[in-house]
């Protein structure tokens, strides 16, 4: 055998490396991150690995409909998780549904992040009446349950991907705005901001290049939670029939479609998409928990 490894671990020198090393100390979080990465990867290559294209209605055979898991359909392959009411392979539908759910979660979370962080940071930067007005509106919005807001907006804006994303963003940007405002208010009073202000830099440059980067840690924590939330919210809205159109079912829509058959004992149409959804959301939340513990200075030992 070769020489034993060096017993003293090399000191991490960048913030990211330090973060990574600390993250590794929690086996649960590492496992959860692995699950999230795996699910995202599987969703990404869904067209390559799924046995059937679930959106190609011409390929669906009605005599294959509502078959239990393990049934070998007319396509010549085994439906490991059964088929739904249209004869669609449930496994393929889940893989494609994951794609849509993750996509919506990331886009909605990303836009809410950008919008909320900008609004909150500018409110803290300018202060005065503008700040009071913006934060008053945001506090008011936060006092309403997000689900109700999203529900109403989805109903008003109609079905489709972009109306749904708009509803999710409206329901969620306020969380980012409040967090960014809190962090930016603290940064605003620090000397480096005064130093930046003494130079002829534009306000937007000071906010985006100097204040916002220092507000990132709490915002990242909110972002992990909110991405999981927007996936759950999208599923809930789709379940209630207010989300995506039925032609491209997300996980929530798949669950809703199988609901009526579940009462007659055909559990697989609803249960398996649900399991996929839960695993994804719980895994993201576990990663988020660890990130929050690491980025929260109050819990530092």
């Amino acid at each position: 055998m070769s020489a034993p490894p060096v017993p003293v671990k090399a000191l991490a020198d960048t913030p990211f490396a330090r973060f990574r090393d600390e993250f590794k100390t929690s086996p649960v979080a590492v496992a959860a991150l692995g699950v999230v990465v795996l699910i995202c990867f599987v969703a990404l290559i869904a067209p390559l690995i799924s046995p059937q294209n679930p959106y190609d209605l011409a390929r669906l055979v009605l005599s294959d409909a509502r078959r239990p898991p393990g049934y070998v359909g007319s396509g010549g392959f085994t439906h490991w998780l059964g088929t739904d009411a249209q004869g669609r392979d449930v496994l393929s539908a889940i893989l494609y549904g994951l794609r849509i759910s993750i996509q919506i979660g990331l886009i909605a979370g990303g836009i809410a992040f950008a919008l909320g962080a900008t609004l909150g940071a500018f409110a803290a930067y300018f202060g005065g009446r503008l700040e009071a007005l913006i934060m008053r509106i945001i506090d008011l919005q936060l006092s309403f349950p997000a689900i109700l807001l999203a529900l109403v907006l989805a109903a008003v804006l109609g079905q489709g991907k972009w109306p749904l994303i708009a509803a999710l963003v409206t329901a969620q940007y306020a969380y980012f705005a409040r967090t960014a405002h809190g962090a930016a208010s603290t940064e605003r009073s620090k000397d480096y901001v005064d130093a930046a202000l003494s130079t002829p830099l534009a306000a937007s440059r000071v906010v985006f290049r100097h204040i916002l980067p220092n507000c990132l840690p709490p915002l990242i924590v909110v972002a992990t939670v909110q991405i999981a939330n927007s996936i759950a919210l999208e599923a809930t809205l789709s379940f209630l029939g207010l989300g995506l159109p039925i032609t491209e079912p997300s996980l929530g829509m798949l669950i809703a479609n199988g609901f009526q058959y579940m009462l007659s004992g055909r559990y697989w149409i609803s249960i398996y998409p649900g399991v996929a959804l839960i695993v994804l959301i719980v895994a993201i939340n576990l990663v988020g928990d660890q990130v929050r513990d690491q980025l929260n200075p109050r819990l530092k030992r």
């Binding site: 689900i147 109903a155 379940f239 579940m262 939340n285 576990l286």
Partner: protein, 324 residues
């Protein structure tokens, strides 16, 4: 203080006005209610009469002003579908939602607080870890999914409990209640359990955090020194000290539970207000949508107003700072 109250009251009024505008124009944008109101084979004359009767031929701003005028007299119009005054419709559905929400919040508190206190009392035990794992699940798993699993397990597979509906009801104070009959109780159990899980998870966390903190204080040390049993310490001293934040959250969460009831009521076909709003969205019943949203907004603004006033009464600094 009076100035502060008046200022907040004015603010709440302005917010209500803005919300009424948003709600009215928003709902106005959804679909065409004429198709819902008039059968396709009605004559042109009947069609025009109906449109005029509902004021649908007027411009939007005129319709809004009419709506405001009726609102002042607490008249939300008539439902297109049920053909009865909207307010009566909503109030006839309210008891169902109220009893579901109350059962859920009470259950979550009565179960969540003791379990959370235990988890905080012995944070490293296996039981505590199990309780916390459950609370993480309760936080992250969507309500509708838990509802489905409950239905599948207890109604479809085991056949112990009914899958939906309200069951037999009994009358008290002129209102129908489910919890007064045995059949109604079995119908109430699953939806209440479903609705309570999120609150349960939150109560567990609150109680655990509070208990952990208070177990380290001098209060507990002195109580132990005085020879009190652990049970007495937990039930007499710790519970009292963690009660204040729990009661606050209990009150605030009651409102959001009413909103979450939308999902639970849809899954369990519980005939409450939440199911009414989902149904009215899909049937384009505009007056019901508008009235529901206005009532919810009013409810939340009233809660916020009360909280603001209560905080200001307790903390004089808020009065001078925010009144400027």
């Amino acid at each position: 203080m009076l100035g502060f109250v008046i200022q907040r009251l004015l603010q709440a009024f302005v917010v209500m006005l803005v919300i009424s505008m948003l709600v009215f124009t928003g709902v106005y944008a959804v679909g065409n209610p004429i198709d819902v109101l008039i059968s396709p084979d009605a004559t042109q004359l009947i069609r025009e009469q109906t449109i005029r009767a509902y004021g649908l031929d007027q411009p939007l701003w005129k319709q809004y002003l009419d709506f405001l005028g009726r609102l002042v007299r607490a008249d939300f119009g008539r439902s297109f579908i049920f053909n009865m005054p909207v307010l009566d419709l909503i109030f006839s559905r309210l008891p169902a939602t109220l009893e579901l929400t109350l059962a859920a919040v009470l259950g979550a508190t009565l179960l969540g607080v003791p379990l959370g206190m235990y988890a905080g009392y012995r944070p490293d035990g296996v039981a505590a870890k199990t309780i916390m794992a459950f609370s993480i699940l309760g936080f992250s798993v969507p309500t509708f999914w838990i509802g489905l699993v409950l239905i599948f397990t207890f109604a479809v597979s085991l056949g112990w409990l009914p899958a939906g509906g309200r069951g037999a009801t009994s009358t008290l104070f002129g209102v129908q209640w489910s919890f007064l009959t045995g059949d109604g109780l079995t119908h109430l159990l699953l939806p209440a359990l479903n609705l309570s899980l999120f609150k349960f998870a939150m109560m567990v966390r609150l109680a655990r955090a509070g208990t952990r903190e208070i177990m380290l204080t001098d209060t507990v040390k002195f109580a132990r020194a005085a020879g009190e049993s652990e049970w007495t310490i937990l039930s007499r001293h710790v519970l009292r000290l963690i009660a204040i934040p729990i009661v606050t959250v209990f009150g605030l969460e009651f409102g959001s539970t009413l909103a979450f009831a939308v999902v639970t009521e849809t899954i369990f076909s519980w005939p409450g207000v939440g199911k009414l709003i989902i149904d009215s969205i899909s049937t384009l019943d505009r007056p019901v949508m508008v009235a529901y949203l206005m009532l919810v907004a009013f409810f939340f603004i009233a809660i916020n107003f009360t909280v603001d006033i209560a905080y200001a009464a307790l903390d004089p600094r808020l009065r001078t700072r925010k009144a400027s």
